[in-house]
C-alpha cells in the first residue's frame, strides 16, 4: 500500500514538473529531458535532480528553472520538503548551496546579480505569450477566420470557438499565457499585443510577421539545446557525461 502511494506521489511530482518550462524554449523541462530524477521518500520529502545542455548554461536561467520546479512541486498539499539539485554545471555547487538554503538568485550570486528573477521570468513569459499568439493567429487565419473578426473577438468567445483539433490545442496553450499581458476577463479582447493594447486589422499581417521572429529564434534555441544535451550525455543512463573522445551520435531529437 505504501509503495503504491509513493508511486502515485511520484507520478504527481512528474505531473507538476510537466508544468515547468525552460523559459527560453517554452517547453516543459520534462519533455526536454532535463529532469533525471524525482524521488519521494517515506517522510514525503521530494528529491529532484536535473542537468542542462552545457556546463555553461546561463546561471540565472538554471536557477530560475530550479526555483520554478521547487514552487510547482511545493504546491502539492502532501509535500513536506523539496530539494532540487543541478548536476554537471559550472556553478552547480553555488547554485545547489543557494537552493538548499532557500536563498534567492541575488543572495546566491552576490551584489552583481541584477535584481531578482521576476523581471527575467516576465520577459520570457511575454515571449512565450507572443509565440503562442503568433501560432494561434496564423492558424485561425489559415483556416478561414477573418482578421476583422479576430481583432474584435473576446476571450469568452475564443474559449468556445471550437476550431479544429490543432486549433483547440493552440487555443488552450494561448489561454495559459494570455493573463501575462493583461487581466483575462471573459469580455476582454482575446488578442492584444504585449502591452495589452488591441490589434488593428490593417497592421495585422505585419504584426504576425514580427512575432514570427520570436518563434524562429526560439526554434533555434530548442534545436541547439536538445542537440547539445544529446551530444553531452548518454541519454540512456542519466547523469553520466559522455566519455572523452567518444563521438556523440548526431541528435535527431529536435526534428
Amino acid at each position: 500500500m505504501a509503495a503504491e502511494t509513493i508511486a502515485d506521489r511520484k507520478a504527481e511530482v512528474w505531473a507538476r514538473l510537466q508544468t515547468v518550462t525552460d523559459p527560453e524554449l517554452d517547453e516543459p523541462v520534462t519533455d526536454l529531458e532535463f529532469v533525471t530524477r524525482a524521488d519521494v521518500d517515506a517522510q514525503n520529502r521530494v528529491h529532484i535532480e536535473f542537468r542542462l545542455p552545457t556546463y555553461w548554461c546561463a546561471a540565472n536561467f538554471s536557477f530560475l528553472m530550479a526555483d520554478d520546479m521547487r514552487r510547482a512541486v511545493s504546491d502539492l498539499p502532501w509535500v513536506s520538503a523539496v530539494d532540487v539539485v543541478l548536476g554537471e554545471h559550472m556553478y552547480a555547487d553555488k547554485i545547489n548551496a543557494g537552493l538548499a538554503q532557500g536563498l534567492s538568485f541575488q543572495q546566491t550570486f552576490g551584489a552583481d546579480a541584477d535584481g531578482d528573477l521576476d523581471d527575467l521570468r516576465r520577459t520570457f513569459l511575454v515571449k512565450a505569450f507572443q509565440r503562442r499568439q503568433a501560432a494561434l493567429l496564423a492558424h485561425l487565419i489559415a483556416v478561414g477566420y477573418a482578421p476583422e473578426a479576430l481583432v474584435e473577438l473576446s476571450l469568452g468567445e475564443l474559449a468556445v470557438l471550437e476550431p479544429d483539433q490543432t486549433g483547440a490545442r493552440l487555443v488552450a496553450r494561448y489561454l495559459e499565457r494570455r493573463p501575462v499581458v493583461s487581466a483575462a476577463l471573459p469580455e476582454a479582447l482575446a488578442f492584444v499585443d504585449a502591452e495589452g493594447d488591441p490589434l488593428q486589422v490593417e497592421t495585422l499581417p505585419t504584426y504576425v510577421r514580427a512575432l514570427r521572429r520570436v518563434n524562429v529564434n526560439a526554434e533555434f534555441n530548442s534545436a541547439l539545446c536538445r542537440g547539445l544535451l544529446h551530444a553531452r550525455f548518454d541519454m540512456e543512463t542519466p547523469f553520466t557525461p559522455r566519455g572523452v573522445g567518444q563521438t556523440a551520435e548526431p541528435s535527431n531529437a529536435a526534428v
Binding site: 514570427r212 520570436v214 533555434f220
Partner: protein, 344 residues
C-alpha cells in the same frame, strides 16, 4: 575561391575563424576542459558525419591543417582571425591575437588579424590596445560582453568604460567591432547577452561598424529590430550557418528574416573554424534556396548576387579589401595553384 558551374569566380572572406589550443597541456582547470568539450559538442552535433573530427584533433590543430582546410580544401580566399583569450581557463590563453599573429605572418595575404579588448581592464587595457593596434595594424576587434570575470557578470557597450575604449578604437583606425551576441560561452545573465546596447553605440559611433556575431542568436528577434534601425549594424551568420545541414528549413527561416529585416549588404559569412569547415558549409550554401513559400511571404531571395555579397563582398567593403588586387596578390603567391591543377 569558389567557382560556379558557369565559371564565375566568387571571392570568399571568412568572417570568423580561430586558431586555438584547447589541449589538456594548455588547460588551466576544469573550465578549460569543459569549454573545449562544449565547442566539440557544437561541432559533433551540427556537422555532417563525414566532417567530424576526433576530440584530439579538435583540441589543437596545427597551422598547416588550418591553412589547407580554409584555402585549399575549402573555398576561403581570406579569413579573419577572431581572438578568444580565456586566460582564466588556459595557461597561454585559448586563441589569442599573439598566437594568431603567427598565421598572419606566414600568410599575410590570406589573413586579417583582429584584436580584443575588455573595458574592465581600464587604463592598462587602453595602453595594451594602443600597443597592439600599432604592432598588428588592427582594423577590427572581437568583444565578449557577456564574459564573467571575478564578481563581474559582463559589461555593456553603452557603459561609460566601454565608450572610452570605443573612442580609442576609432582613433586607432579600428573600425570593425565584432561583438559576440550568441549562444552562451560563459554563464551569463540576460543583460549581458541582450543586444540592446548595440543600438546605443551604433547611433553614437556612426563611423564604426558593429558586427553582431551569431546574429544575436539566441536573441534574433530583438536583434533584427535593432539592425533595421541602424545603418552600421551587421549580422555574422557563424553558428546559424551549419544548421543548413541538420535543419535546412530552419536555416531558410533565419536567412529570410535577416534578408527581410537587415538586407543583403549587411550579412557576413563565417565558418567559425575549427568548429566547422568552409568546404561543406559553402557547398551547401551555394546550393541553397529559400523555400518558395517563405519567399512569397518575405520577398527574400538568395540570388547569386546576394550570395556573393554575403560570402565576401560585404566583408571586403568594411575591411577595405580591394578584391581584384587581392586576388592578384594571392595568385602571385601561388595561392590558386590547386585550382589550376583541379581544372586540368
Amino acid at each position: 575561391m569558389y567557382r560556379t558551374a558557369s565559371g564565375e569566380e566568387i571571392f570568399v572572406i571568412d568572417g570568423h575563424t580561430h586558431f586555438w589550443d584547447g589541449s589538456p597541456p594548455n588547460q588551466k582547470n576544469i573550465h578549460g576542459k569543459q569549454f573545449i568539450e562544449c565547442f566539440y559538442a557544437y561541432h559533433s552535433n551540427l556537422s555532417p558525419p563525414a566532417e567530424k573530427w576526433s576530440l584530439e584533433k579538435f583540441e589543437k590543430y596545427d597551422a598547416k591543417t588550418m591553412h589547407d582546410d580554409l584555402f585549399i580544401h575549402g573555398y576561403d580566399d581570406m579569413a579573419i582571425l577572431q581572438p578568444t583569450y580565456l586566460t582564466d581557463f588556459y595557461k597561454a590563453g585559448f586563441n589569442t591575437t599573439e598566437r594568431n599573429s603567427a598565421l598572419k605572418k606566414s600568410h599575410p595575404d590570406r589573413f586579417i588579424l583582429n584584436g580584443a579588448f575588455d573595458p574592465r581592464d581600464g587604463n592598462k587595457g587602453l595602453e595594451e590596445l594602443h600597443a597592439k593596434a600599432e604592432k598588428y595594424k588592427l582594423k577590427g576587434v572581437k568583444l565578449y560582453t557577456a564574459e564573467w570575470r571575478g564578481e563581474s557578470k559582463g559589461y555593456k557597450l553603452d557603459d561609460k568604460g566601454s565608450y572610452r575604449f570605443l573612442e580609442a578604437a576609432q582613433k586607432l583606425g579600428i573600425k570593425n567591432i565584432h561583438v559576440h551576441k550568441g549562444p552562451t560561452i560563459i554563464p551569463l545573465n540576460k543583460d549581458a547577452f541582450d543586444v540592446g546596447d548595440i543600438d546605443d553605440v551604433a547611433t553614437s559611433f556612426q563611423d564604426l561598424n558593429f558586427i553582431v556575431e551569431h546574429c544575436g542568436l539566441p536573441r534574433l528577434d530583438d536583434f533584427c529590430w535593432i539592425a533595421t534601425q541602424e545603418t552600421n549594424v551587421y549580422a555574422g551568420i557563424a553558428v546559424a550557418l551549419p544548421f543548413i545541414h541538420s535543419r535546412p528549413a530552419y536555416f531558410g527561416h533565419v536567412m529570410a528574416e535577416l534578408l527581410f529585416w537587415i538586407g543583403a549588404d549587411k550579412i557576413l559569412y563565417g565558418s567559425d573554424y575549427g568548429i566547422w569547415t568552409p568546404k561543406w558549409l559553402i557547398d551547401k550554401f551555394m546550393a541553397f534556396e529559400i523555400p518558395e513559400e517563405l519567399t512569397k511571404e518575405t520577398g527574400s531571395v538568395l540570388t547569386m548576387e546576394t550570395k556573393t555579397k554575403i560570402l565576401g563582398l560585404n566583408a571586403a567593403r568594411i575591411y577595405d579589401v580591394d578584391v581584384e588586387a587581392q586576388k592578384k596578390k594571392i595568385r602571385a603567391g601561388g595561392g590558386y595553384a590547386h585550382l589550376a591543377q583541379a581544372a586540368e
